[in-house]
């Protein structure tokens, strides 16, 4: 009954991107890409540690990344990396109070200045650049 009593939305509410516009979509993608990159980082350390087993072990492990599934995972990693970087720069600037607008007397219908076109452009740019980078990665890996 504790959760019901507190009436918290929980993780389901936190990751629901449908109600609050592109900013909430960016919030979700930032979290997913962060977790994905963390998982990749751990996997990458594990993979590179296989060199301790000698050249054969290293080559066997490296062969996994040369499969179709390996290429697809690497393409997703490229997209996550680009999105996380570009959107991260936007968020870091915002966290410093840069580009969030200036306080002023609000007029109805109260369009929040912090959700301005520069931030929206930043989010769309991050998504588009991530898509381009992923497609380029796919073209390089599958294009041979």
């Amino acid at each position: 009954m504790a959760n019901q009593d507190e009436n918290k939305e929980g993780i389901g509410g936190m990751i629901n991107p449908r109600r609050y516009g592109i900013e909430r979509v960016a919030y979700l993608l930032m979290r997913l890409s962060g977790l994905g990159l963390l998982a990749y980082f751990i996997g990458h350390i594990y993979e590179t540690s296989s060199i301790l087993k000698g050249q054969i072990g290293w080559n066997e492990f490296l062969a996994i990344t040369q499969t179709n599934a390996g290429h697809a995972i690497l393409a997703i990693v490229i997209a996550m990396c680009v999105f996380h970087t570009v959107n991260g720069i936007r968020v870091m600037l915002g966290h410093g109070g840069v580009g969030v607008g200036k306080p002023a007397r609000p007029d109805y219908p109260y369009i929040p200045a912090s959700q301005n076109i520069r931030h929206k452009m930043g989010i769309y740019s991050a998504i588009i650049l991530a898509a381009i980078a992923m497609m380029y990665g796919l073209a390089v890996m599958f294009g041979e």
Binding site: D5, G10, E23
Partner: protein, 255 residues
């Protein structure tokens, strides 16, 4: 639990004479004896100016007086009637049925607040966190003892915080916040925006004191600038802006 009586049966007793009607779904939940939320449905006629609060009050008047809802001013000033209306936190008195563009209106208690009953939620934590950031001017002198008698302020200095003093403590921002959805200890956008309101006030001398309070693992650093708080604010406060500007002080971007 569904009943669909119509107001037409109550002829002459309703102020709404429109032929248009909506289905109003009201969440019912009493934490003392219910284990899950249920919904009751009512057919309510409406005019283009009818608000969701008026529709709920029609239900109380004609169908079920036991529906629990908190309200007072009916003009978006008291901040009492915040609730989830068709999935988003809004003030019931400030939301017209006609602007929702839906034949079904679902009202639920605000998320991230403990439920008292039905649509009424507890505000204890909101008021506690609001009080925690010391929502008053901090100075050593007072207007009574100082020679100037009043603390003068230029219009430009007023502009720095006046937007944030519009807060009516309705809790919609806390209900929309994704961090509040999972972190029970987070200070929340309402209190953080109010911290900025006083930090930015040229008459206030308690900046360091307040920054110390919010410099906590469940304080300002848990805000990730999703901006949902600003999108639901019915008074144009823009808590997301206040929080980022406040963080600018802590990161040294502002002084």
């Amino acid at each position: 639990m569904a009943q669909t009586p119509t107001l037409a049966e109550e002829s002459g007793s309703t102020p709404f004479s429109s032929s248009q009607s909506i289905t109003l779904r009201i969440a019912r939940y009493n934490p003392q004896h219910d284990s899950v939320k249920s919904f009751m449905e009512f057919q309510i006629p409406y005019e283009k100016w009818t608000t969701v609060l008026e529709a709920i009050l029609e239900v109380k008047k004609h169908f079920d007086h036991s529906v629990a809802v908190r309200y007072s001013c009916r003009q978006a000033t008291c901040g009492s009637c915040g609730m989830i209306i068709n999935g988003k936190p809004r003030l019931a008195c400030f939301t017209k049925i006609s602007e929702l563009n839906s034949n079904v209106i679902t009202v639920e208690p605000m998320n991230n607040f403990p439920i008292i009953r039905d649509l009424a939620v507890k505000f204890d934590r909101l008021f506690d966190t609001h009080h925690k950031i010391k929502p008053y001017l901090i100075r050593n002198d007072t207007e009574i003892t100082t020679n100037t008698k009043e603390f003068l302020q230029s219009p430009e200095e007023l502009e720095q915080y006046i937007q944030f003093s519009n807060c009516i403590k309705c809790g919609l921002c806390n209900s929309a916040c994704p961090t509040m959805a999972t972190d029970s200890s987070f200070v929340g956008p309402q209190a953080l925006a109010q911290a900025y309101r006083y930090v930015a006030d040229s008459r206030d001398k308690g900046k360091d004191n307040r920054l110390k309070i919010i410099d906590d693992s469940h304080g300002i650093w848990r805000c990730h600038f999703a901006g949902s708080c600003s999108q639901v604010c019915p008074k144009g406060v823009d808590p997301a802006m206040g929080i980022q500007l406040l963080r600018g002080y802590m990161l040294g971007f502002r002084s």
